[in-house]
C-alpha cells in the first residue's frame, strides 16, 4: 500500500495557482486512492469527492505517462490553467502521496 504523508503547505507560491489549487483540494475535498497493478503499466486512481462533482485522477505509477483527470480543466486545456499541464486535482494528489510526488517534476521543468 502506498505511503501517505502529511502535507504541510506552508510555503508561498510564486505560481499562486499551483499551490492555491492544491491547498483547496487537500483541505476541502476527500482523496481516496485505489491501485491496480494488473495491467502492463501499474495505475492508481485517485477519487476526489466532497465537491459538486467527483473527479478521478489517474496516475501511471511507473511514470510512463502523464496523469490524466476527468475535470473540465484537464480535458479542455490539459491543465494549462493550473501548472505545466497539471490540473489542481493532479497536483494535490501528487503532493499527498509520496510515491507520486516525483511526477510533479513534469509540471516544474
Amino acid at each position: 500500500m502506498a505511503k501517505t504523508v502529511a502535507i504541510d503547505i506552508d510555503i508561498q507560491a510564486r505560481d499562486l495557482r499551483f499551490l492555491r489549487a492544491a491547498e483547496t483540494v487537500l483541505k476541502k475535498y476527500d482523496l481516496a486512492r485505489t491501485d491496480d497493478t494488473s495491467g502492463k503499466s501499474p495505475v492508481c486512481t485517485v477519487a476526489i469527492t466532497g465537491g459538486r462533482t467527483t473527479y478521478e485522477v489517474k496516475f501511471h505509477t511507473d511514470w510512463s505517462r502523464r496523469p490524466t483527470c476527468s475535470c473540465p480543466d484537464m480535458k479542455r486545456s490539459g491543465g494549462a490553467s493550473s501548472a505545466g499541464g497539471f490540473c489542481k486535482h493532479a497536483i494535490a494528489s501528487a503532493l499527498k502521496w509520496e510515491d507520486l510526488r516525483c511526477q510533479l517534476l513534469d509540471a516544474l521543468i
Binding site: 510555503i11 499551490l19 510512463s64 510526488r101 516525483c102 511526477q103 517534476l105 516544474l108 521543468i109
Partner: protein
C-alpha cells in the same frame, strides 16, 4: 542620479511578448513600428510573424533604395505611344498576392521622399498607383536614436500614426532560437549563465559590441576558423571584454568531459577548489546537456551516471533542475531516467526543493 555608461537593453517588451501582441495589432489594421537596438532580433521577429500569418516575407530597407527606384520606371509602350509605369518586382508581388512587407530601418529613411514613400506603404498600403493586395501585412522597424545607428527622427505626422513597441534584449528567447542548431553550445551556455549583459552590451561610442547578431557571427566564425585564432575572431565580432569573458568560461566548459562523466569515468566534486564557482557548475551542466542533446546517444548504461552527476557533491540542486530543463524535450532520455528509481527519488527531492523556492 548618475546615468549608466551603457545603453539600456532591458526596456520594452520581450520577443515572446511581441510575438503574442503584434499579430492582433496587425490584424486590427494598426500600423506597428518596432524599435530596438541593432542586432537584437527585429528581423527574426518579422520572420516569425510572417510565418504566423502564412505569408512570404519581403524585407525592404528604404535607406538602401533610391526614392526614384521605389516609384518604378517608365517604359515606352510603342503600341499606345506613351510611357507605362512599371513597378519594382517586390511591389508587383505585393499587388498580385498577399505578402508580409517588413520595412526595416524605417527611421533611417533619410529624405522626405523616403518618408513619404514609407507613409504611403504603411498607412495606405500602396506605392504610387500600385495598391497592395488587401491581405498584405506591413510592419515597420527601426533602430533607437540613442544607438546612433542610422536613426533619424520620423516626422511627427508619420510617427503619430504608428503604435510604437520597443523590443528588448531577451536571453530566453535567444537561447531558444540558438538551440535550433544555430549557435555553438558553449556560447549558449555562456549567454545563459551571464544573461542580458553578455548578450547585448554597448557603450554609445563603441562599434564592436556583443549583440545577438554578433554572437551569431562569432559562432559561425568559430566553426570555420582554426582554434588558434578563436580569440581573434571573437574579439572582432563581440569586442575584447566579451571575448575574454567567454574564453574564461570556455576553459571551464572544456574541463568537463561529458562522455567520461556518462561512462562513470569522471566524477566531479563541486565542493573543491574552483569547481565550487557557480560559473563552473553552470558550464558543467551546460556541457553535459549539450552532449546529451547533440552528441549522444544516451544508453541505459549512461543513465545512472547522469543521475550520479546530478547528485555530485556540492552541485546545487537548482543546477540539476537546469539540466533537466535542457533535457525535457528529449523524450527517450527522459523515459530512461523516469524508469530509474534513483531518478525518481531525485525528482521527488527536486519537487520539494522547487516548492521551497517559492518562499
Amino acid at each position: 542620479m548618475s546615468r549608466s555608461r551603457f545603453l539600456s537593453p532591458n526596456k520594452g517588451h520581450s520577443y515572446e511578448e511581441l510575438k503574442t501582441i503584434l499579430p492582433g495589432a496587425l490584424r486590427a489594421g494598426v500600423s506597428v513600428l518596432v524599435l530596438g537596438h541593432p542586432g537584437i532580433g527585429k528581423t527574426a521577429l518579422a520572420e516569425d510573424l510572417a510565418e504566423g500569418f502564412g505569408l512570404p516575407l519581403i524585407d525592404i530597407r528604404l535607406a538602401q533604395q533610391e526614392p526614384a527606384d521605389l516609384a518604378g520606371v517608365y517604359f515606352p509602350d510603342q503600341d499606345r505611344e506613351c510611357l507605362t509605369l512599371l513597378p519594382p518586382a517586390w511591389v508587383k508581388e505585393l499587388v498580385e498576392r498577399p505578402g508580409f512587407l517588413f520595412l526595416d530601418e524605417v527611421n533611417a529613411a533619410v529624405s522626405r521622399l523616403h518618408q513619404a514613400v514609407a507613409y504611403q506603404m504603411v498607412l495606405e498600403r500602396r506605392l504610387g498607383p500600385f495598391q497592395f493586395h488587401p491581405d498584405t501585412v506591413v510592419l515597420a522597424a527601426g533602430n533607437l536614436a540613442e544607438d546612433n545607428a542610422l536613426a533619424t527622427p520620423l516626422s511627427s505626422a508619420l510617427a503619430n500614426r504608428f503604435a510604437h513597441f520597443r523590443l528588448r534584449v531577451d536571453v530566453p528567447a535567444w537561447i531558444k532560437w540558438a538551440e535550433r542548431g544555430h549557435i555553438r553550445p558553449e556560447l549558449r551556455a555562456f549567454i545563459g549563465r551571464h544573461g542580458d549583459e553578455a548578450l547585448y552590451k554597448r557603450a554609445p561610442d563603441e562599434t564592436i559590441f556583443p549583440s545577438p547578431r554578433t554572437w551569431e557571427m562569432a559562432s559561425r566564425l568559430l566553426d570555420e576558423v582554426d582554434e588558434a585564432h578563436h580569440v581573434d575572431v571573437l574579439e572582432a565580432c563581440v569586442g575584447r571584454p566579451s571575448a575574454r569573458a567567454f574564453v574564461g568560461f570556455q576553459k571551464m566548459y572544456k574541463r568537463v568531459r561529458p562522455e567520461k562523466v556518462l561512462n562513470g569515468k569522471q566524477k566531479i566534486d563541486f565542493t573543491k577548489g574552483r569547481s565550487q564557482e557557480p560559473s563552473f557548475m553552470h558550464a558543467a551542466v551546460s556541457a553535459i546537456g549539450a552532449w546529451v542533446q547533440n552528441e549522444g546517444p544516451v544508453t541505459t548504461d549512461h543513465v545512472p551516471h547522469l543521475v550520479s552527476f546530478m547528485r555530485s557533491p556540492g552541485l546545487d540542486r537548482e543546477y540539476a533542475m537546469l539540466l533537466l530543463v535542457q533535457l525535457k524535450t528529449n523524450r527517450p532520455v527522459m523515459q530512461k531516467l523516469k524508469a530509474l528509481p534513483a531518478f525518481r527519488d531525485l525528482a521527488a527531492e527536486l519537487v520539494g526543493l522547487h516548492a521551497g523556492m517559492y518562499a
